[in-house]
C-alpha cells in the first residue's frame, strides 16, 4: 500500500473556481442576447476581441512572473473580466480601444497587484474607467436601439467597425441616462413624450437588457455563486435614493426608481460587478453596507456627475472602502458576546 499523507479534510465539495467562472459566463447570456437583439452583434465582437487580448496579456504576464501559464489560465478569470468589460463598452468599438481596455484590466488592475485574488479594484471597472477618461468620445457614443435606428448593423458591419473603424458609420443616439441628465426644464412626462428612446420604463432596449442581466443574476444566486446581500442592498439603496428625490416627476427630478433600476448598467452592475468577491467587503454585514453605499453613489454620480453612467466609479470608490468596512463589520464568532465585548 502506498499511502498518501494529506491533512484533513479528505473530502471535497463539487465546486471549483473554474466552475464558478464558467457559471458567471453562462449567466451573462440572457443579457448579452438582449443586447444583440436591440443593438446588433457589436457586443459579440467586443467580447471576442477583448477576450483574445485579455488572454494574451494574461499569458504574457504570467510568463513574465514565472507562474504556471496554462493552469492559471484555466481558471477562466481573464475571460470573465474581458467579457464584463466588453459588455460595459459601447458596441462597435474599435479594436485598439478594446486592446487598451484589456491591458488596463489585466495588466494594470490585476497582474500588477499579483493576479487573481490580489487585486483591490474590480479589473473590468478599472479598464472601463481608464477608457472613459482617456477616450471620452468613443466611450459616449452608443448605438441606436432596434426600432429607432434605420437598420441594425450586421455581423460584417460589426467586424468592420472593430477592425476598420474609419469605414463604419452606424446610427448612434443619446442613451436614456444622457437624456435625463441633460434635462433641466422639462417635466419627466414631457421628456418621455418627446424622446422615443425612453420607452416605457428604462429606455427602449435597455429595460430588456437589464431584465436579462437580472435573470442571469438570479440564476447565479440560485446556484449559490454569491449571497444576496450586496446586490440587493445596492438595488434597494438606489431605488430608495431615486424615490427620495423623485419629486413627482418635476423638471428637477432625477428619474423614477423604476427608471434607475432598469436603465444603464444597474442590473449588470448589481449582479456581475458588485458581486465580484475579490474586491468587495467580506462579511455578509459588510456586503450589505458595501452594496448600499454603491447604490447611493450611483444615484449621486448619475444625477450630479458628468459621466454616461456611474456604476464603475461607484464600485471603484467602494473598493477603496472595502477594508475599512471589513474592519467594522467582523461577525460575532461562536462563544463571543455581542458587540465585540469579551
Amino acid at each position: 500500500m502506498s499511502l498518501l499523507r494529506i491533512t484533513s479534510p479528505h473530502a471535497h465539495g463539487p465546486l471549483s473556481t473554474t466552475r464558478v467562472m464558467q457559471t458567471v459566463l453562462l449567466a451573462t447570456l440572457p443579457g448579452v442576447a438582449a443586447l444583440v437583439w436591440f443593438f446588433g452583434p457589436g457586443v459579440l465582437v467586443n467580447i471576442a476581441v477583448t477576450s483574445f487580448f485579455a488572454i494574451a496579456f494574461e499569458a504574457a504576464a504570467l510568463k513574465l512572473r514565472g507562474r504556471p501559464v496554462l493552469r492559471t489560465l484555466d481558471d477562466h478569470s481573464a475571460v470573465v473580466t474581458a467579457t464584463l468589460l466588453a459588455i460595459a463598452l459601447p458596441p462597435y468599438s474599435p479594436w485598439w480601444l478594446l486592446a487598451v481596455g484589456a491591458a488596463a484590466s489585466i495588466l494594470l488592475a490585476k497582474q500588477l497587484y499579483g493576479g487573481l485574488g490580489y487585486n483591490p479594484f474590480n479589473p473590468a471597472m478599472v479598464g472601463y474607467v481608464v477608457l472613459l477618461i482617456s477616450f471620452p468620445v468613443q466611450m459616449t457614443t452608443w448605438a441606436a436601439p432596434r426600432g429607432l435606428a434605420p437598420e441594425l448593423p450586421g455581423l460584417l458591419d460589426a467586424l468592420r467597425a472593430c477592425f476598420a473603424p474609419a469605414s463604419f458609420d452606424g446610427a448612434t443616439m443619446a442613451t436614456p441616462l444622457d437624456l435625463l441628465r441633460q434635462n433641466s426644464d422639462q417635466s419627466l412626462a414631457a421628456l418621455y413624450a418627446a424622446s422615443p428612446q425612453l420607452g416605457a420604463w428604462g429606455g427602449v432596449g435597455w429595460q430588456w437588457v437589464s431584465l436579462g442581466f437580472l435573470a442571469g443574476g438570479l440564476w447565479m444566486l440560485y446556484r449559490g455563486i454569491f449571497t444576496w446581500h450586496a446586490p440587493v442592498a445596492m438595488l434597494a439603496a438606489l431605488a430608495a435614493m431615486a424615490a427620495l428625490f423623485y419629486d413627482g416627476g418635476a423638471p428637477g427630478s432625477g428619474g423614477s426608481p423604476l427608471f434607475h433600476l432598469l436603465s444603464g448598467a444597474t442590473m449588470f452592475g448589481a449582479f456581475f460587478i458588485v458581486t465580484d468577491p475579490v474586491s468587495s467587503a467580506v462579511s455578509t454585514r459588510g456586503r450589505l453596507v458595501y452594496g448600499a453605499l454603491i447604490g447611493v453613489l450611483i444615484y449621486l454620480i448619475r444625477t450630479r456627475g458628468n459621466y454616461p453612467d456611474a456604476v464603475a466609479f461607484a464600485v471603484l470608490i467602494m473598493n477603496f472602502a472595502a477594508p475599512f468596512i471589513d474592519y467594522y463589520t467582523q461577525p460575532r464568532s461562536y462563544g463571543h458576546a455581542r458587540g465585540g465585548r469579551p
Binding site: 498518501l4 491533512t7 484533513s8 473530502a11 471535497h12 465539495g13 487573481l116 467580506v282
Partner: protein, 596 residues
Amino acid sequence: MRRVHGFHGGVHPPENKAQSLAAPIRPAGIPPQLILPLAQHIGAPAQPVVRVGQAVRGGELLAEADGFVSVPVHAPTSGTVSAIEDRPVPHPSGLPAPCIVIDTDGADAWAPPAPLPEAERADPTKLRERIQGAGIAGMGGAGFPTAVKLSPGPGKAIETLIINGTECEPYITADDTLMRERASELVAGTRILADLLTPREILIGIEDNKPEAIAAVRAAAGSDMEVVVFPTKYPSGGEKQLIEILLGKQVPSGGIPADIGVVCQNVGTAVAVHEAVALGRPLVSRVTTVTGEAVAHPGNYEVLLGTPMGWLLERAGVDPARARRLVMGGPMMGFSIPEPACPVVKTTNCLLVPTEAELPTPPPAQACIRCGLCAEACPATLLPQQLYWFAQGKEYDKLEGHNLFDCIECGACSYVCPSHIPLVQYYRASKAEIIARRREAEKADHARERFEARQARMERLAAEREAKRAERKKAAEAKAKAKAEAAASEGAGADGTQAAAAADPIQAAIERAKARKAALAAGASDEPADQVAKLAANVETIARRLAAAREKLDAYDGGEASVAEALKRGVEKTEEKLARAEAELREAREGASEEA
C-alpha cells in the same frame, strides 16, 4: 417536544454510511500481537507497571495513570509482554511513541472481573475512581479522560448532561450500530454518569439520518432522559455545535461546557462506563467502522485495543492495490495514517480506506477569490478567507483578533473552497506558531526578570561595599585628627594629659578591651565551660565571616584581577583565623574535660 436550534454554517457532504451498516457488529478476533500506546488519551502518558517477559491476563493493568489528567492501560487479552518500546502510533505528528507490546496466546484468559459493589456506587469518589481506573477516555475521537469531565469542580452545578449520538462525520457508523445494538447498556451508562453529575435534565442527541438508532434508544430510555432528534448537518456532532442545537446556548470562547452547566459525553463512552462499573470490565476494546471502497467487507468490528490496523484491514478484505490512503476517523476531520502497522486505539472510531476515484488527490490550490463560501460554511462564524490571508502574511495579531483560536478545525471551509485551498492546514500551522511564540515570549520575560534581579543584587552589594569603605575612611580621618589634637594638647601642658586621655576615645576603647581580655583570662581558669562557649561562639562568627567572604568572591565577576586577588586573600586570611579559633576551641574543650 423540545425546540431544536440551528447553528451557523455547516455543510452536507455525501453521507456514505450505508456501506458499513449492512451487517451487525462483528468481533474482529485476537491478532498475534497487540501494540498498546501509553498515550491513547489527552494528558500525561500512562506509566508501565509490567516488565518485558511478564505474562498477563485479560483486564490486567499494564500501565497506570500518571496524575489527574491521565488514564491507565489494560491488557485486552492474555499473553506475554514482549517489548516496551517506541512504535509507530496513530498521531497526526506521525512520530513513534512508547508502547507496550503483547504477544497474545490465544487462550484469552481473564482476571476475574470485579464489578463495583452496589454499596460503593452511591459514593461519587469511588465511581470516579472506577471510571478513571478502567482507562476510559472520550471515545468520540478526542480522547479526553472521562473522569476529569465528571469532576466539574465546586461551584459548577451541571444542569444538563448531553449524550452525543450525533456522529455527523460521513462514513462512520460505529456509534449508530452501538446505539442500535446496545441501547440498554447506553442508558445504564448514562444513568451512572447522571448519578455523578446530578443534572436537571439528560438529553441524548441523535441526527435524523439514524432512524433505527433513534427507535432503539427511545425504547430503552426511561422518562428520566429525552432523545432529541435534529436535522443532519455537518458538524452537528461537535460538542459546541451540539450544545447550541439542543440548548440554544453557546459555550464562551476559551471556556468549557461546564461553564454553562453542561457536560457532553459520547455514546461509546457511556457504554464503556456501564461496562466498567456494572461488569468490572476495563476499556480494552471498542467498535470501529472499517469502510471505504477499497474494503471488500465494510462494517463495524469489535476490535481489541492495540490491534494493528493492517491486520484488521486484512480481515475486512482490503485491496492494497486500490487503497489510496488510510484515514483514522472520518473524511472531514480524520488524519492520514502513514503505515498500517499503527494500532487501533481508544479513539479509533473509523478506519477509512478510500480509492483514488472515491476521494481524489486534491488538485493544486488556486488563488483565493474571497468568494466567502467558507464564511457561510463556518460553524464558528469566523471569516476563514480573512484568516487565510492573515496566515499567509504571518499577521499573528490579526489572526488572534479574528478569533483563530475559536476554529474547531472541522474542515467545512476547505470542503467548500472552490480553489481547493487547504485552509485548515493553514490554521493549524498558525495556531502552533502562535503558541510557540507565546512560550518563547514567556521564556524571554522570565530570563529578563532573572537578569534584572541579578543586576539589582550586584548593585546593592557594590553600594554596601562602598558605604563600608567610606565609613572606614571617616574613622581613619577622625583618628588622625584626634592624634594631632592630642599632640597639640600634650605640648600645651602636663595637666592636659588627663584631658587628652579622656578626649581620645580610641585609646579609651583599647584600654577597655585590654581590661576585658585580662578579666576574661582571669575568669577562664575559674570557669572553663564559659570559655568553651565563648570560643565556640567565636568559631561560629569567623565561620560566618568566611562564608560571607567566599560568597563575595564567587559573586565577583568583574574584570579586575586585583580586586579578585584581594577578595581571595581575604578568604584565605579568614580561613587561617578560623583554623586558629577552632584549634583554640579544641584545646579549651580538652582542658575542660580534663578538669572534669
